[in-house]
Symmetry: D2
Subunit: 414 residues, 4 copies
């Protein structure tokens, strides 16, 4: 190891409700101090040069001040990059490897990780099971909207991308392996999507687009996506699927009857979350209740069917209007759900469980999402403006390209 100084590292920093800024941040070290103040020795980690770092809808919850996120956090948990430095205990990765990084930080050594629940790792977050990069209450790990980032337990956490031209051809699709594509797939699996099933997807944002593609991959027959945002619905139609304009038919059921000839779908996937009224993508209604999305799904999902809840619901919502909502309590029509014998599966995705299969599907040309995403590749310095626009409902998926690498590789048109 020569004496060359570490390169400059810049990152997107949460500065408080409504504010993000790009600032100089420390170059990552294998001996890290988390935002919680804990020190961790991470010789099991790698330091990666970040080549794609997406802005996620769930980042908005923090930026809009709906969480307890503390200023100073480096944001970003959808990361793809190249290994720059390898910790002393790493065995399966080498400098130069391209990797997709699951948003979950998992140790690979606790009982949950051994049981394929890396989303509920017992050791990477001292406050509750489950950790993530750059996210509130998720352990305080620095995020990946920056030039360089530490990935701890790298043998366990990194998915190596093949060193082949195909990887570059598909890099924009592969960039979604870190979160929203596996998340959407997890929701579909939880909802019971498989051969021949009919599916309703609540929300046509980036996760909704991924869920649509996953339903196709899983062999669903009819896929129906609902949203208030008609631009987003137009994208779904390009994918060859049906849509419900919620401005016209908020109850959905009459649309279902038109499309399917019946009032129920076999499976539902919730891709919206507790800020249904905040995205401006999903809902522009006034007085919209947090529980509306789920309560609707209770009514349109076939009795005995499944609901995969991939939108985020949190146990505390500091920006909520009433005391119930502030602690994540919502008025669910549970009698309806119970009576219909519905099974609800929700929570954060165990990303790594699905990554390799989805990567293989992408590389084999079986799964395409990027071209339906209205992707905008931006520099780190553009991130604050992108946050602002996304917060206001821009129907886009922003990918931060800190080193200008994607722009060079990709000639992408929707």
């Amino acid at each position: 190891m020569a004496s060359r100084p570490d390169p400059l590292n810049r990152g997107v920093v949460f500065k408080g409700s409504g504010q993000v800024a790009v600032e100089n941040i420390p170059f990552p070290s294998f001996d890290i101090t988390l935002q919680t103040g804990e020190r961790r020795r991470c010789h099991h980690g790698v330091i990666i040069k970040v080549f794609a770092s997406n802005i996620c809808g769930s980042d908005m919850h923090m930026v809009r001040g709906r969480t307890d996120a503390q200023p100073g956090m480096i944001l970003g948990h959808e990361v793809t990059g190249q290994v720059l430095k390898v910790g002393g205990d790493v065995e399966t990765l080498a400098v130069g490897n391209w990797v997709s990084v699951p948003f979950n930080v998992a140790c690979g050594r606790c009982s949950n990780c051994k049981e394929r629940k890396p989303n509920l790792c017992l050791r990477t977050n001292s406050k509750q099971p489950g950790a993530a990069y750059g996210y509130v209450n998720m352990g305080g790990w620095p995020g990946g909207q920056c030039d360089y980032m530490l990935v701890p337990y790298a043998d366990f956490n990194c998915l190596k991308l093949p060193d082949s031209p195909k990887t570059m051809d598909k890099i924009l699709d592969l960039a979604f392996l870190s979160d929203i594509l596996p998340t959407a797939y997890h929701g579909c699996i939880g909802a019971g999507v498989c051969t021949g099933k009919t599916v309703y997807i609540a929300g046509a944002g980036p996760v909704g687009v991924c869920a649509t593609a996953c339903c196709k991959l899983l062999g669903a027959s009819t896929i129906i996506v609902g949203d208030y945002n008609t631009e987003r619905l137009a994208t779904i139609e390009k994918m060859g699927c049906s849509t419900v304009d919620l401005n016209q038919d908020p109850e959905i059921s009459s649309s279902l009857k038109n499309i399917l000839g019946k009032q129920y779908v076999d499976c539902s996937v919730e891709c919206v979350g507790f800020e249904a009224n905040g995205h401006h993508g999903y809902s522009r209604k006034t007085g919209h209740e947090i529980a509306e999305v789920l309560n609707t799904l209770f009514k349109i999902t076939k009795p005995g069917g499944g609901i995969g809840v991939m939108g985020v619901y949190l146990p505390s919502d500091s920006g909520a209007k009433d005391s119930d909502s502030k602690k994540g309590t919502i008025p669910l029509e549970y009698g309806t759900a119970w009576n219909a014998g519905l099974c609800m599966m929700g929570g954060q995705c165990p990303t790594m469980n699905y990554q390799e299969d989805l990567m293989n599907a992408i590389l084999a040309g079986r799964l395409e999402v990027a071209k339906y995403m209205n992707i905008e590749i931006i520099s780190l310095e553009d991130a604050p403006q992108a946050y602002k626009d996304f917060c206001e409902g821009a129907p886009k998926k922003y990918i931060i390209d800190p080193h200008g690498m994607l722009k060079k590789q990709v000639s992408f048109t929707a």
Copy 2:
């Protein structure tokens, strides 16, 4: 078929909120008119002589006026008996066979029945998927708290009990195969109970006792049952399991720490339902919220764990105090549940799926519940008083013995 007149048939009839009476009812015919007014031709049915017909906690919801049940309904859905007459299309049953009758009425011919969802039969209830005997909104089928009863689609719906002395030895255990034993087992399976798991069971009533026995059968390590009724808790202790007196520790968590050394159980089973405050078994608190039981389970179930909800929740509660509760809407701390990645499985049990295995376990001496039930065998005429006592919290399980058959066979002591 000779000209002998049909015997007299007496049954327990719902007369309106708070009232049941024993009345003469028609002897069953293979051509039946349901309470909904529909006529059904049931040559696929058998007429049975009822030998055991239990009063169920869920009957209380109707009797207490918390549902839309219409006067005139013959109650009873936990039935064991002997075949007296066989319809022309029946192939597997003969006069004299002993049968356990699942509480679900299922056709065996619709897509849900073929998919092992007899609890959601699409053809036996014209209003919604799923039918039951003697229950509100469940298709209007006459119940089984009576001398003689029709079981439609008998080849599909009846579990034949072996013609052996063992059957009589175990008849009180076998009497629970029609509902609460499979229901409890279904909840355990939904909760993920298996080898070595720790379990919390909410409610020490008859379903709670069955769940306790099922958890033992499934190989759980530590089983903990909570209730406000200390008599019921004493029964659980006789079963060799741990208890939480909710009068002392309503939050449960400190009890868990004492018993397990940690704040979570692996699995939770809800055996209470929406009338948590009504049973007087589970709760004597004032102002008790319907959602309290589930919200507590959200907090004490290990992240990534499962909750089986076997207590009944309904989409309409005519006896509720506020408009939300009237339509089955309850304030659930769903943010907590989602954050913990909990899976909730609820709804009526597909009874027949479990019956044969549980019967075999009973006959092999592997599963005993009757002796922990505080059973009282009563005549049909005693049923109204039993309803009254059960409604007021008597920690008993009443079995109606219309023909005095059980009393003769059984010399049972707890």
Copy 3:
């Protein structure tokens, strides 16, 4: 019911090793005598007018004299048709309904049928679990290569096809729902085929083509099919999949390395069966061992992977050369399979379990097989010649069209 006489019924009859003939046969009755001599009262049945009745590779085993099939059996178990008469106990079907008939004859009332194992019905075959139409040792039910046929337990056994123009558009695809499409799908499920997996399919005959289409539907990444018949392999290539010409690379492994860059596939599907050397499709080698196909799969399937065995293996092979083979004993390299922790799933398909989902996939345009089948639509009278040609390796799928109905409806080009 008027006095109009029953129409003439003609059927394909097995006359002994190497011989089939088209003969007058009785018009079906609801009171039937099986080939075993048993009488069955089938008022639960329907009589259908047969519109498509495929010749199956497994029919060849009988015709080539490799089984104990007795002369006089009416052949045919891949049947699609229209309801002509309805038995008195039938509730869900009406005259005029189009139906696909699973090849399994199942009662819907025994414990196996209730457990979703209609392929192992305990009541429709008095010799062993599991029955089929027109097949040796399968209960003696008359087959469906004829004008009119009885389908017993019709509510349970028939899949109703929608009364819509789409059904006619897709009728040739739907004609495979009775057997080979669900059979192939079952093999894929048994092999663990799902998102992103690599698969090897042994055999490019009609079942192999269906398996290829199912693997695509299930989201497999790379699909590789091996056969000795190069015409059949050409069809697979039209489907966009990879092939192995076994004449060039009987060990397969060097082809796998070329295609995948590794020596293993994740999953294998066996679509050949015990007459590997007889189809002239799969193998033209001399001295070919029955066990060859499975032993090869043991070596090329990834340790921990799955093998779905859809080719037929039987407990008695009267045409075999040695005493071991005569009783279905074959020299399997089981040490290799065990050492690799492979899971083998075989046996007849529980057809109905998959039919509705696959039908929905076909109707939604997600699953196409007919156009890759080299289908020849023939009259009943042409059946003997078709048997002869198929037996000699003609790479075709013959569909008998007894009433000239398909020819009218379909203008089909590969």
Copy 4:
């Protein structure tokens, strides 16, 4: 770390067919050279003081010369001990912790380990997936029949036993967590053993005893164990289960009819392996075929049922008599198995997947095996004699107690 010299290390060494000896061996180092000659840096490992190291039936295969095992291998893969030294990368273990060591050596970082297939780790054995301590073709890792042993990837591979008096109370039961108890349980799960099922277990040796206990824990109704060794069968009877003396009824079926009243069991577990005639426990017949056990199970397992094959079958058997057997090829009546739709699951157990649940069951008093094992606790120096006796059929389970620790702790009587 002071300069105290490493203690003396003695181990049981395979010296060639029929020979084992206790010799001085090197004290383990974190930089290890495997028997294959490969060097591995194992700072992720711990060095343990071995407190219990069982002799396994599968060790006999090597000692009897039925494998390619090379002289010089330190034997032993059923190890329990206490952590003495901790590698620099270990995070979850500390000096003094008691641990059970799964017989599989797994890295926790490859795709198979991440998919819960530690039995097929892709990185710990350079020749094939899957590694083990002290076993032929399993990567060359030194075994644990010695004073001190290296456990690599210790965070992943070790199950920590609670630091409580209960651990010592149950230490003999816990000693089987390293292999035969999870192995037997895996076989039961593979066979589909669950509530109410009937089970046949082939072989009443130590694995058969464990399988019997696991079937009870899993809620099986009737459990039947067959063997030729009547002493072993007597033990099974003490466990309250049924037995078949194969000397009297080698076909088993008449015993099944007596016990169950039918010819089939729901599930079968094979606890014998390819040396059925070698154990002298299972078979004393002359000319016994290797395939006999499996072929019998094909006939007595209910169609649609499952067979868990826990006995070892290997791809090469250097001591076999014929060329087929030498490469692990055996004459299986596969036609019978296929016709019955049986599912066979075999291969080495993913031990760690079951360890924690089984440990919890043991500590809660739900699972007892040691008292049915006829355990003999021996010193290291006694091991060669124990190998000789076990090889000759002594119906015992030998536990090597290198440090005389068990003898002190345990006052154990059967």
